[in-house]
Structure formats: structure tokens, C-alpha cells
């Protein structure tokens, strides 16, 4: 009721149809307000879209055209060569096999990290929500507060731990690091979700003789698929976009895509090929962008929760 009443004036003004005014307010006031409102929003939206546009346009031009032309002008002659070069033969130091190596490294880092971190955190959140033991909350609070400790403080001790285990510099090591640092926010996410599931369901399952894992797998898991999707979105974008852990815990041949991209673009030797650089930049941003555009509102939910990660 309240919604309809407040919605109709602006919607009507927008349509500018001939239907009679429903309120006493003169229409031109509303439409001037709308011109300001939409004008501002469109200008800001163009500003936000501009870098994406420039990236795409630049990546489709040849180098001569870039030198002569304007970065905002559309390509006169579309070429996909920069994309091919960025993917298959751009150089970082002595390696000239393009971004593809970084891409596959990132895949091999992201997939297990996402699975492992969500598996750990969901069971953890479940234990915290339904099977609390003495002291569990203390650890949980440490975990949440720990999420705010700058990573720089913990980088080196983890290097030592990984070196002692013998997995420093390997993808396994990086997967573990991602699982550790994904834990606070994911555990919070799952704990809050599982807490909101009615206690009666849990009790009924207990009466029927289901145990810790039985309830988790047969009741909690099927009931909480949306939160799993949110967690997956959060982790895929977060881990794919990571740079710091990639640069600290891997070696050149196992560098994730972001690190390799930075090395390609910011390498000091050779002629700068801006079109290849931009193609490489888009390629690196493509995975999170696709996740973002496909997931829509769930992404918003994910970042609203994940924002705490900082």
C-alpha cells in the first residue's frame, strides 16, 4: 500500500503518458527532478564504464593506431592479434608462453581452494551453530578478530610453517593459505546461516538417531544451498583476484594469473605493447566479471558478507 502510493508519481512522470495527474503536485517539478536524477546517474555510470570501454577498445587496435590515435576512439581496424599474443606468447622474463600458464595456475589454485575452504568453514560453522562445545566461542572470536590483522603480520611465520612441512612454493601451500584466510568470513557466514535454521529440525533429526555428520549431510547441506552459492562466489572472486599470497607463496612457474599479468605489463625490458597489455588485463578480469554478471544479486549478498574481510 505504502509502496504503491509513493511509487506511482515518479513512475508516471517517467512514462510521461497522458494519464491524469494523480496528485496535486505540478508535473514539471517532478520531471525536472527526474532529469537531474537520471542525468547524474547516467554521467556517473559512463564514468564507471569508461575504463572497461577503453580496455576493450585498446585491446582491439594495432600499435600504430594506438600511437597516432585517441584512447577513447573506437578501433578503425579491429584486430584480435593482441588477444592471441596476450594469451599465448606474451613474455615475462625468459618465459614467452603468455598468460595461459597463469590462467591454468589460477584455475589449479582457485578450484581446490574454494572447495577446501568451503568444506572446512561450513562444517565449522555447523559445529559452532548446533554442537557448541566449551571454548568454541573463544576460538571463533579469535578467528573473527584475526580477520582484521594485516596479512603482512602473518606472512612470514606461514612461510616458515610451509617450509617446515615442505610445501613452500607449491600450489598446495597456496591452497592451504587461501583456506586459512578464507576461514573467518566463511565460518561467520555459515554459522549465522545455520543458526537461523529452526532448532526443531535439528532436534527431530537427533531423536531419529542422526549424528553429527548425518545431520550435516542430509539436513543442513540440502537446506543451505543458497549460502553455499554465496560462499562460492565470494571465494572464486577473492582467490582469483589475490595477488599478495600468490607472489609470496609461489614460484615463477606456479604464479597465478594476477602476478603474471603484473609481470607482463610492468616488465621494463622490450617495447611496450599497450594493446597486448590491455588484452591481458581483460583476460585476467574476465573470470570474476563473468561470475559477477551471472550471479547478480547473490554477488551483492556475498560481498555484503565478505566486505568484513576488508
Amino acid at each position: 500500500m505504502a509502496d504503491v502510493a509513493s511509487l506511482s508519481p515518479s513512475a508516471e512522470a517517467l512514462r510521461r503518458d497522458a494519464a491524469g495527474p494523480s496528485g496535486p503536485k505540478p508535473r514539471h517539478v517532478l520531471s525536472r527532478r527526474n532529469i537531474f536524477l537520471y542525468g547524474t546517474l547516467i554521467v556517473v555510470a559512463l564514468y564507471y564504464l569508461l575504463p572497461l570501454y577503453v580496455m576493450i577498445v585498446t585491446s582491439l587496435k594495432g600499435m600504430p593506431e594506438i600511437r597516432l590515435g585517441n584512447i577513447f576512439s573506437p578501433p578503425l581496424e579491429i584486430t584480435f592479434e593482441p588477444w592471441v599474443k596476450a594469451w599465448a606468447s606474451a613474455c615475462t622474463g625468459l618465459n614467452c608462453d603468455g598468460l595461459s600458464r597463469g590462467f591454468w595456475n589460477s584455475v589449479r589454485i582457485t578450484v581446490p581452494s574454494v572447495i577446501l575452504s568451503i568444506a572446512i568453514a561450513s562444517v565449522n560453522g555447523y559445529a559452532l551453530a548446533n554442537w557448541r562445545f566449551k571454548g568454541a566461542d573463544t576460538f571463533f572470536i579469535i578467528l573473527i578478530v584475526g580477520a582484521f590483522i594485516p596479512y603482512q603480520v602473518m606472512i612470514y611465520p606461514i612461510v616458515i610453517i610451509l617450509r617446515e612441512i615442505g610445501i613452500y612454493g607449491t600450489l598446495t601451500g597456496l591452497v592451504i593459505v587461501h583456506s586459512i584466510f578464507g576461514m573467518p568470513i566463511l565460518t561467520l557466514l555459515f554459522r549465522n546461516y545455520f543458526t537461523s535454521i529452526p532448532e526443531e529440525l535439528f532436534r527431530a533429526a537427533r531423536v531419529d538417531g542422526a549424528g553429527f555428520w548425518g545431520i550435516y549431510l542430509r539436513i543442513m547441506l540440502p537446506m543451505s544451498l543458497p549460502i553455499f552459492v554465496v560462499a562460492i562466489i565470494l571465494q572464486v572472486t577473492g582467490i582469483w583476484n589475490d595477488f599478495l599470497f600468490g607472489v609470496v607463496y609461489t614460484r615463477p612457474d606456479t604464479y597465478p594469473m594476477t602476478v603474471q599479468l603484473n609481470n607482463i605489463v610492468n616488465s621494463v625490458q622490450g617495447v611496450k605493447e599497450y594493446n597486448v597489455n590491455m588484452a591481458a588485463t581483460i583476460l585476467t578480469g574476465l573470470v570474476p566479471l563473468i561470475v559477477y554478471f551471472v550471479s547478480g544479486k547473490l554477488f551483492v549478498r556475498g560481498i555484503a558478507a565478505g566486505a568484513v574481510k576488508g
Partner: protein, 297 residues
């Protein structure tokens, strides 16, 4: 597993405890242990390898007399002030605009938020290209006729940190907008009606009624922005690598460079401990209010 027949208290706790082992290890070994370790070793003269050779506050004295660190701190303060003020103001304004029951709200929100899906590396490299003096905005404006126009923030050491802030704001304001929008949507419609009935202008309603009501949202947002500011690293690496010279260095980069390039671990530990200290000052009061008071089940 074995408790499905006889749910004894011991076994139930055992399962939950087994499931919590990763959390306990992370909390105790990495978060508490790692932090304590770094703080402890910041009082040593560790160089290439960590050694327990205590030298008191020497590393901190050296840290605060290193010009690179002082530049880093200054940059962090400027960058932080810009991020805080502008992302709050722009984020709130955009959220208020989107909250006017407009059409295509989802489209606009999608556009404002997409940069947040991109990594800082991608963000930094795009803006490095846009701000490139030979090809980017400066060149375009000069080609239009203003031949003396100058806009090269990434190559001018006195304004380079502002150039980095432009990219950071482009990437991050969408998130703030989303949080603010959620806050605005949480305000009861009746408040607006009451204000309208009383004839209070819209801007006054926002300033004196809505914003004070959104205090919790603002506090959370503030903490999120603050935590992000201290961590700024990838963006600088991608955009300028700390240059020109040391003009755009930031503390996180100082730490990394001293730990992994300069083979001066003690300096790195001392610098990271200072970063921790700055976060503690911001976070602890907030965390206490948020988690310390209430223990819900």
C-alpha cells in the same frame, strides 16, 4: 559416526571438536601464534634468517628514521583520508540517488559495482593506461587544443598518491554504495512519511534523521574502509611500483620489500607490527562492541 546409535555427550563433543580442528589451529597457530612470533622477532636484528638476537627497539628507531617509511606513512594517511571521505560521500550519494524509486535501478547498481569484482591489479593497470601522459587523458585533452594541459598524476611525485586514490575510488565506491543502500532500505517508510507531513525538506531529512539512524551502517562501513586502507598494496604495485622514486610507497609494500628483497627481516617485522598497531587502534573498540557484548546462540 559411531555415535549414531548412542548419542553420548563425550562422542558428540568429540565430533564437533574434530570438525573444529582447522579453526582452532588457524586461530591459535596462525592468528595468535603468527602474530606473536612476528611481534617478538621485531625486537631482534634478524637479517636474512630470523634469529632471536634481541636488540630492543633498534628496528623501530631505524624504521622511524627511514625516509621511505615516513613517505609510506604520509601516503597512507593521504590515501586513507581520501578513501574515507570520498567513498563515504560518493557511496552515500549514489545510494541516495538509487533509493529514489527509479527505473533501471538494477542496471545502475550493476554498473557501479562491477569494478569491485575486478582485482586491484587489473584496476591499477587500467588506470595506469588511462593516466598515461603520452596516450591517456592528458594527450586526448591536448589534442583537443589545450596544448598546455597537464594531468600526469602517476609521473608527478607530488600528486602520485592522488592518482592512485582515483583508481581506488573507482574500484571501491560501488561496495560502499551497496552497504549504504542496504542501510537506506532498512529505514522505515513511515519515517519518510512523517518527515513529509511535517514539511521537512528531503535533504534535511537525510542529514538530520536518516543518517543518524544509519549509525550502525556507517560504523561498519567505516571499519571496512579502514581495514582496506591499511592493506593497500597490489594497487600501488600495479599502478606505479612505488614510483616515481619512492613517492608512492605504502607500508604494506615496505614490509614485503624488506622481508623478501632487502633480506632485512627485522625491519619487515617492525614495520608489520606498526601496521598491526594501527589496526588494533581502529578495530579493538569496534570488535568489543560488536562481539564482546552479546553472545547469541
Amino acid at each position: 559416526m559411531s555415535n549414531s546409535e548412542r548419542p553420548s555427550k563425550l562422542f558428540r563433543n568429540l565430533n564437533a571438536k574434530v570438525a573444529s580442528i582447522p579453526m582452532v589451529l588457524t586461530a591459535l597457530v596462525v592468528f595468535v601464534g603468527g602474530t606473536a612470533w612476528t611481534v617478538l622477532y621485531s625486537f631482534t636484528n634478524s637479517k636474512l634468517l630470523p634469529r632471536l638476537n634481541f636488540v630492543g627497539l633498534d628496528q623501530y628507531h631505524r624504521l622511524w628514521s627511514t625516509s621511505r617509511w615516513l613517505v609510506s606513512i604520509e601516503n597512507l594517511l593521504i590515501y586513507g583520508a581520501i578513501s574515507l571521505v570520498f567513498s563515504l560521500v560518493i557511496g552515500f550519494l549514489l545510494a541516495a540517488l538509487l533509493d529514489q524509486k527509479i527505473r533501471f535501478e538494477d542496471t545502475f547498481r550493476t554498473i557501479f559495482l562491477y569494478p569491485f569484482a575486478l582485482s586491484f591489479i587489473v584496476t591499477g593497470l587500467v588506470w595506469q593506461w588511462l593516466l598515461n601522459p603520452d596516450f591517456g587523458v592528458q594527450r586526448v585533452v591536448r589534442d583537443l587544443g589545450w596544448t598546455s594541459f597537464s594531468f600526469d598524476p602517476l609521473y608527478n611525485s607530488s600528486i602520485v598518491i592522488y592518482g592512485i586514490s582515483i583508481a581506488a575510488l573507482w574500484q571501491g565506491t560501488g561496495l560502499i554504495m551497496c552497504l549504504m543502500l542496504a542501510g537506506l532500505r532498512g529505514i522505515d517508510e513511515d519515517i519518510w512519511k512523517a518527515a513529509r507531513v511535517d514539511g521537512i525538506p528531503t535533504w534535511k531529512t537525510y542529514l538530520f534523521i536518516v543518517i543518524p539512524m544509519m549509525r550502525p551502517v556507517f560504523i561498519t562501513t567505516l571499519v571496512i574502509i579502514a581495514a582496506g586502507i591499511v592493506k593497500v598494496y597490489d594497487l600501488v604495485v600495479a599502478q606505479t611500483s612505488g614510483g616515481p622514486g619512492i613517492a608512492s610507497e605504502v607500508p604494506a609494500k615496505y614490509v614485503y620489500d624488506y622481508m623478501f628483497f632487502a633480506q632485512n627481516l627485522g625491519q619487515g617485522f617492525a614495520a608489520s607490527t606498526m601496521m598491526l598497531l594501527s589496526v588494533v587502534i581502529v578495530i579493538v573498540p569496534w570488535a568489543y562492541l560488536e562481539f564482546g557484548g552479546k553472545k547469541r546462540g
